[in-house]
């Protein structure tokens, strides 16, 4: 019954929504089903794109742009970096299941989340109307509204998040250093020396054989 109201919105709106939803769900399924981690990461990018499309459909242009810049442009790139540099970009064996009972646990979590969503949505289906409380009108209103909320109502949360990020950066720098004050380059030099030695031994072996 209530699903009908989805199509009561303008045709373009419902078409955009359906397209966006297909992109998101297709990407999400891809993330789970892809065997290769790089393919899974790419599917994640597709999902993020779909979410950005839906943001635009809701008039949240700024969020859409930031979604693509931050998530697709930076975070997944870092994922890919780690995957490529650590050389884990191999297909996984499906038979070996690292977590016992993960399927029933996953189903339970899905049920809980779905119940929560329904409760929060008070059993209302999509109505086609903009779901935000205040209407976002005109170019750039987005940015102003967001800035106002961040720097007044949610100032503490915002500042706390920035402190958290600074702590993470400091921790990353601290972790990349050695406690004995030696430079990381020492490791590098040791590696080169070991390789040279191995090469020398190999060529010695060839000469003797």
């Amino acid at each position: 019954m209530q699903l009908v109201s989805l199509f009561a919105a303008t045709k373009v709106d419902s078409l955009t929504f359906i397209l966006g939803a297909v992109i998101i769900l297709g990407g999400a399924l891809g993330v789970v089903l892809a065997r290769n981690p790089v393919h899974a990461a790419l599917m994640l990018v597709q999902t993020l794109f779909g979410v950005a499309v839906l943001f635009v459909a809701q008039g949240a242009h700024f969020l859409a742009a930031v979604q693509v810049i931050v998530y697709a442009g930076a975070i997944v790139v870092l994922f890919l970096f780690v995957i490529m540099l650590l050389g884990v970009d191999k297909e996984e064996l499906v038979a070996a299941e690292p977590l016992q009972n993960q399927i029933p646990i996953a189903l339970a979590v899905i049920a809980v989340v779905a119940a929560e969503l329904l409760l929060l949505g008070r059993q209302r289906w999509a109505t086609g109307a903009p779901s935000v409380v205040g209407r976002l009108e005109g170019p750039s209103r987005n940015v102003e509204q967001l800035a106002e909320v961040i720097f007044t109502r949610y100032l503490f949360a915002f500042e706390a998040t920035s402190v958290l990020l600074v702590i993470a950066v400091v921790a990353a720098v601290a972790l990349s250093r050695r406690s004995d004050g030696s430079d990381v380059d020492a490791d590098y030099i040791a590696g080169i020396e070991a390789a040279e030695q191995a090469l020398a031994e190999e060529s010695d072996a060839e000469v003797t054989s």
Partner: protein, 394 residues
């Protein structure tokens, strides 16, 4: 402020959407595409010709007359007929996808560049700009974020070592310089009060300081953000002196080593298209886009386009000039420049600009404070380096 927002929207959509409006948008899309393709063909030829002049060579001189104007067209046709190789160890799907991830964002970025004023087609008024989204300049950053994937996946999916090394370098470089790029764009956004490229251009169209200087952002913001943007954009483009991504002596051809035929052509196209687009963006952000005096002779709607093309040519030439003049940076120099110089400097400048916007005496506090912090930072780096050298010396 409100006036700016009104001006930012394209008047084409004021009276609703009908068939005529859709046709005009389709026509604009086609024209933008065609112009961009011709611009790329021109740029390939222009770069080869200008750089050979700078290096005392002749350059293209066979195809298309004495100046070889048809050289890039000939090269393009030749590439189409080459064999399309697919490496045995390649990840086939990603290998096929990567060139498009490079070329499509390059096309899309140009859509937000205003190339002229307003014209009237069949009683419909429209801006000479394909799209004017309210977040225009962020759309550009998003597209440059996506084009990282093209480079990165091309290198990885080739299944061979030099492309992988090249793509890791490229993506690290592009991600690092995006920060400085974004911060220098932020200074422009702070004074323009809007993210829309059209509003940014309109904002620069008045009379500037002294009454005779143009009100361009390059002057209003001090030259610093312009220089930062120029350097960061060059790095983003992987053009010399930041082309260690495809350093031939070390990496064969970088991320596109394994590519041939039409797929290679797409990468080549994307690279030159990006050069044209980023030059146009520099013009838009810092040199007032199509603004300039109307000097008569030509019809009034044509002058902005002429000014825009003239400014664009300056930057296209500057990029060729960079390539002819500057030696390539080393990887550590590149990272040092990006993280230790450009990002702190652009943060500092953003602070100063914001301070001036709020109250001019804030700037009087911000500048000495910034200088003091800069001194402390450089001192800290100096001490750190001295300690490392001490350790290495032992």
């Amino acid at each position: 402020m409100n006036l700016l927002h009104l001006l930012a929207a394209d008047p084409l959509f004021n009276d609703g959407v009908d068939v005529g409006v859709v046709l005009i948008v389709a026509l604009k899309t086609l024209i933008t595409f065609a112009v961009l393709m011709v611009a790329v063909l021109f740029m390939v030829w222009y770069e080869r010709k200008l750089i050979s002049d700078m290096q005392n060579r002749i350059g293209p001189a066979k195809a298309g007359g004495r100046f070889g104007v048809l050289q890039s067209l000939a090269d393009g046709i030749k590439l189409f007929f080459k064999e399309d190789l697919l490496p045995e160890r390649a990840d086939k799907r990603v290998f096929r996808l990567a060139p498009y991830l490079s070329a499509v964002p390059a096309f899309l970025s140009f859509a937000v560049v205003p190339v002229g004023g307003t014209i009237t087609i069949a009683s419909h008024q429209t801006n000479l700009q394909l799209a004017d989204p309210p977040v225009g300049i962020l759309f550009l950053l998003a597209m440059s974020g996506i084009s990282v994937y093209g480079v990165m996946l091309a290198g990885w999916s080739s299944g061979s070592k030099y492309p992988l090394l090249g793509s890791v370098r490229a993506s690290a470089q592009m991600v690092s310089y995006e920060a400085a790029l974004g911060l220098s764009i932020a200074t422009v956004v702070v004074v323009a009060g809007s993210l829309s490229t059209h509003a940014i251009v309109v904002d620069q169209s008045g009379a500037g300081p002294g009454g005779f200087l143009p009100s361009w952002n390059i002057i209003r913001l001090g030259v610093v953000p312009f220089v930062i943007f120029m350097i960061a954009a060059t790095a983003e483009l992987n053009r010399p002196p930041f082309d260690l991504v495809e350093a031939e002596q070390e990496l064969v051809g970088g991320f596109h080593t394994e590519y041939s035929s039409i797929r290679f052509a797409l990468f080549f196209l994307a690279e030159f298209m990006n050069t044209v687009t980023w030059s146009a963006i520099i013009v838009t952000l810092f040199l007032g886009g199509p603004s300039g005096p109307l000097l008569g002779v030509l019809p009034d709607w044509l002058w902005p386009i002429v000014w825009f093309l003239a400014k664009l040519m300056v930057f296209l030439s500057v990029y060729v000039w960079f390539r002819a003049t500057l030696p390539r940076l080393r990887y550590d120099q590149l990272m040092d420049l990006g993280w230790k110089v450009l990002i702190p400097l652009s943060l500092f400048w953003l602070l100063v600009i914001a301070a001036v916007r709020v109250e001019s005496w804030y700037a009087a506090v911000a500048i000495p404070a910034g200088l003091a912090i800069a001194f402390l930072l450089s001192r800290a780096m100096q001490v750190g380096r001295a300690r490392v050298e001490e350790k290495v010396g032992q």
